[in-house]
Subunit: 355 residues, 2 copies
């Protein structure tokens, strides 16, 4: 167990920005929100899944919507409202919170309701990275119920998806509601048991994000190579180095979708990389060949090791593109059915990132 | 109190088709569904609002969506599922059902859950006609809460709008969900008290619809003028007689919207009537001048007095257009703010139908 400090939030913002593969919402916004909650209501404890009491009732919260919108329409306490609506619906009180994904602002969104409710956050998440759609969680992929799910906006609207055919239907209905709510809202789903979390969540990812962020900070402090620090901390490889020459981006259907084109520099001079994204980076093509395919992680960082989320990509940025292997829960047949390239409409086989 | 017979359903289908002003869903479909439920689970009693016990808990149910879709995707028992979801949410059991509107299939939709749950239906509704949007109910206009509201589809999806800024927000969220559910779903809202129903519902409209339908049937049986029978039964006037020369209709945003053009015959030879609709007929223009304006009722019938709902309008039909004054609850300032021409986007003042 560890107690979150403001320094931890700085480190997590970097680490979860990298693991978020361009999505999960702006990490800077998340850091400020979590810091504000901690200052106002007190810090939160991060509890390893192994240390959960067997009778724990764990609720997963997250922000749903387009990061382009989430950057401007910043949530207040609606993940707490969603938690309370879910608790009222099931007639139980949560004893711990769980991040929906380890990406951007979503990696620390659970700190807000946890701080207000004075309960710990589990050191785990439902993706081991970030993904754009609700059903793309290890929990549901491995049999945890996807409903009830509560959704709240900042205006005072609260809805509960009480029964759904499957998690894709929850996504479909919640996305339609989110668009009406202004393309950014907060949800709570569960509660889950300790056993369910231990069996189906990606463990220790908050610690991973914090340690990854610290490694980048330390490299910056001594003017060392931040890319090397990242690769030393969590594996992976450099996919490409270059300058952004074009960004095509649209906020559509409650998502930020688009493509970024990068012209190679240094060792990649004369080559081109195209990365397609739907909130998160999905596929990296080098000179027309796929070199990193979802669910493997594609992360764009600047020369200080700072991750650049998809809604902040701009013409002219000098960037390094990194690839990391996906958590093992995603590379099974069941996992690939939910988050493999076909799930995003690509007629492409997943092949693991080459070492 | 009266107990519904199959003959009553035949009569209500005609009467509620007329009062539905083109909307409320196809009355024929509603008749078949209600008949099936009554045959399977037993008939239902129609209870006057005055006869409700003071501790009654009354739930209003209805179908939401585009009638063009509702004609093909016929509901099964999802208004009953919506009722049960609402009851589970509030922790109370309904003691009576209430029709959302006295129009088309919706006028008898409440018979289905009432028959299954073996509870009576209140002889009243929330519109005294049909309207396309959820917030257009006398209940909400006169202060009854618009949430919680449960929405269910035929696939197994159930949602609850537990809190909403206002009834327009319920409409907005429920419509977005309905579109995902396939543009036709069923809802339950309440429960209301006996006092709320007596104070805010339009009373005795099931009896009105039945008696109006009987008057048309009797006129048909003796080859008398069915138009005259309608006007004798519930007031109103003939607005126009003619032949449909064009129908423009689209299923959009979860509604059936469009315009019908009628070329005058007989006394109206040389004149033209245009009627604009959004599920229901909204404004009738004669030679470019508005002659009947929402919330007043515009009904299109054929020469046998059979009402023609907007999704069944076809080129070549010989029709009579009738106008009826709106229920008094709608012609107040509060009422017109919710269902007057401005509420439908028209820059037009309401002026009551001329006698």
């Amino acid at each position: 167990m560890w107690r979150v400090t403001e320094a931890d939030l700085e480190a997590i913002a970097i680490g979860a920005g990298i693991l978020g593969t361009g999505g999960g919402g702006n990490p800077y916004v998340g850091k400020l929100r979590a810091r504000q909650a901690i200052r106002e209501f007190g810090s939160v404890d991060i509890l390893s899944p192994e240390d959960l009491p067997d009778d724990a009732r764990i609720v997963c919260v997250g922000i749903i919507g387009a990061p382009t919108v989430g950057n401007e329409k910043i949530p207040d306490y609606q993940s707490y409202y969603a938690l309370r609506a879910l608790e009222a619906f099931v007639g139980e009180t949560a004893t711990a919170m769980l991040p929906n994904e380890i990406g951007g602002t979503n990696s620390v969104e659970s700190f807000v309701p946890a701080s207000i409710a004075r309960i710990p956050v589990v050191d785990a998440d439902g993706m081991g990275r970030a993904f754009p759609e609700f059903q793309m969680k290890t929990f549901f992929t491995y049999g945890v119920p996807c409903a009830p799910m509560a959704l709240a906006d900042e205006k005072g609207n609260t809805t509960i998806i009480s029964e759904a055919v499957d998690a894709r239907w929850v996504e479909r209905m919640a996305r339609a509601l989110t668009i009406q709510m202004g393309s950014a809202a907060c949800y709570a789903v569960g509660p889950m048991t300790a056993d369910q979390v231990r069996r189906t969540a990606v463990p220790h990812t908050l610690t991973l994000a914090r340690d990854l962020g610290r490694a980048v900070q330390q490299a910056r402090n001594v003017h060392a190579d931040t890319t090397e620090a990242i690769l030393n901390s969590c594996g992976g490889k450099v996919l490409f180095q270059g300058k952004i020459s074009d960004v095509e981006r649209r906020t559509t259907g409650g998502f930020s979708k688009g493509t970024v084109l990068i012209e190679g520099t240094r060792a990649d001079q004369g080559h081109k990389m195209t990365i397609e994204f739907q909130n998160e980076n999905l596929i990296a093509w080098m000179d027309g060949n796929p070199v990193c395919i979802v669910p493997d992680l594609i992360c764009i960082v600047d020369e200080t090791g700072e991750p650049i989320t998809t809604e902040l990509l701009r013409y002219g940025f000098r960037v390094t593109v990194l690839g990391f292997p996906a958590p093992k829960l995603w590379t099974t047949t069941q996992g690939l059915a939910v988050v493999g390239p076909n799930a995003f409409g690509y007629n492409l086989e997943y092949s693991p990132l080459k070492g």
